[in-house]
């Protein structure tokens, strides 16, 4: 599991999104819906999370957790 420094986090219905500078940690994700260099879309239990930015890429993909890195501009639900 990736541990992020300077953590700020929010919880939506049991899922967790942690944003730390240029990294985003999404826990308990269901499925990756889209992976492009400027957009990553992840399906959660009750909603989808879309992250817009630049040079986005996955630095870890596990069963319950996904960690993204890049210049994050917008995170939308």
């Amino acid at each position: 599991m990736y541990i992020l420094k300077n953590i700020s986090y929010n919880v939506w219905g049991g899922s967790m999104l942690v944003i730390d500078k240029d990294q985003v940690n999404i826990r308990e994700y269901q499925e990756v819906l889209k992976l492009e260099s400027n957009t990553i879309m992840v399906k959660m239990e009750n909603h989808d999370i879309t992250i817009h930015g630049k040079d986005l890429h996955i630095i870890y993909l596990g069963v319950e957790e996904i960690v993204l890195k890049g210049i994050i501009q917008v995170v939308s639900l």
Partner: protein, 322 residues
């Protein structure tokens, strides 16, 4: 913590499908990077290698400690070498490979070895536990009750170490309160006195029986105090030796050396010959006679019972003197 990774590349137009497949198969992916339009590179832990066997991934290389360990294990020769190494480490830690005795007396060292042999301790024997070491310690202590002041026994790695200090060196020195007198005539060359009241100085001429180092000193309160006396007084002494042989038809040179050797054989006990001089060499009464004078540097100090110098001296002169 993952110790090793395999690096793979995948050419696919639908990376999302692959990612979800990995999630389904519980495969962890690290550092997924797009290296060209539809080509991705990523890391997978080595222990998950079997799970991705059927993914048709392009293997690039492996990194990490686990990878190097696997390399070692996969090679038969390396594996045997590793096993031999660990077995050797294990065995060498179980047996005594050296017995080291740290002491200053060869005789005691030998006796310690004999005591150890009673306990069947030798190179190649199994290492002893603390209780057994204690027994050996007690036995050695009993055996060397009088001879050893300090004893320690321990195992350092595969070496059994026995340390001891011999008590002989620690014995108190008996002090002597006897004066030192000159045993013969001479000129003082040097004075090596650690205790006592020195009455002569270098280059003084002393006669046989002269008091050299006294056991009395006068304190500041005019009291006479008896102090121990210890030391040596070296002086130049003169001695003449004569050797004779029959005047046969011997070569003169040979005769000289024969007589010289005769004289030298007589003076082996003298501390040091300072100089050697031929006084006379010739025929006297049908005999070849060699007369030599020697200057020695020797310790002329001898101990006496009282301060009365006339009662003390018992001197000995080596050789035939005139």
């Amino acid at each position: 913590m993952t110790l090793g990774y395999d690096i793979y590349e995948l050419k696919t137009p639908d990376i999302v499908f692959f990612l979800n497949q990995c999630k389904k198969d519980q495969v962890d992916l690290y550092q997924i990077k797009k290296i060209s339009d539809d080509r991705y590179r990523f890391y997978i832990p080595i222990y998950q290698r079997n799970k991705v066997k059927n993914y048709h991934l392009e293997y690039i290389k492996s990194i990490g400690v686990l990878y190097y360990l696997l390399l070692l294990v996969n090679n038969k020769v390396s594996l045997i070498g590793c096993l031999a190494f660990f077995i050797a480490i294990y065995l060498s830690n179980q047996y005594i490979l050296d017995v080291r005795i740290l002491g200053n007396n060869k005789k005691t060292n030998q006796e310690v070895l004999e005591v150890l042999s009673e306990f069947d301790i030798d190179i190649g024997d199994k290492k002893r536990n603390y209780q057994q070491l204690n027994e050996i310690y007690d036995s050695l202590k009993d055996h060397f009750k009088q001879d050893i002041d300090y004893l320690n026994i321990y195992q350092s790695g595969s070496v059994l170490v026995i340390e001891y200090t011999n008590s002989v060196g620690a014995k108190e020195k008996t002090l002597s309160y006897q004066n030192l007198y000159a045993s013969k005539d001479g000129i003082i060359e040097r004075i090596d006195v650690s205790q006592g009241n020195i009455l002569v100085k270098v280059n003084d001429f002393v006669k046989k029986g002269d008091l050299l180092v006294e056991n009395m000193i006068l304190s500041t309160s005019d009291e006479v105090k008896i102090i121990p006396v210890e030391g040596h007084v070296y002086a130049y002494t003169y001695q003449t030796y004569t050797a004779k042989m029959k005047n046969s038809k011997v070569d003169k040179g040979d005769a000289f050396y024969q007589l010289l050797l005769q004289i030298r054989n007589k003076i082996d006990k003298i501390d040091k010959i300072d100089s050697e001089k031929v006084l006379d060499y010739g025929i006297i009464d049908k005999q070849i006679v060699l007369k030599m004078q020697y200057i020695f540097v020797e310790d002329i100090a001898v101990k006496g019972e009282t301060n009365d110098k006339n009662n003390q001296i018992d001197t000995k002169h080596d050789g035939t003197t005139e």
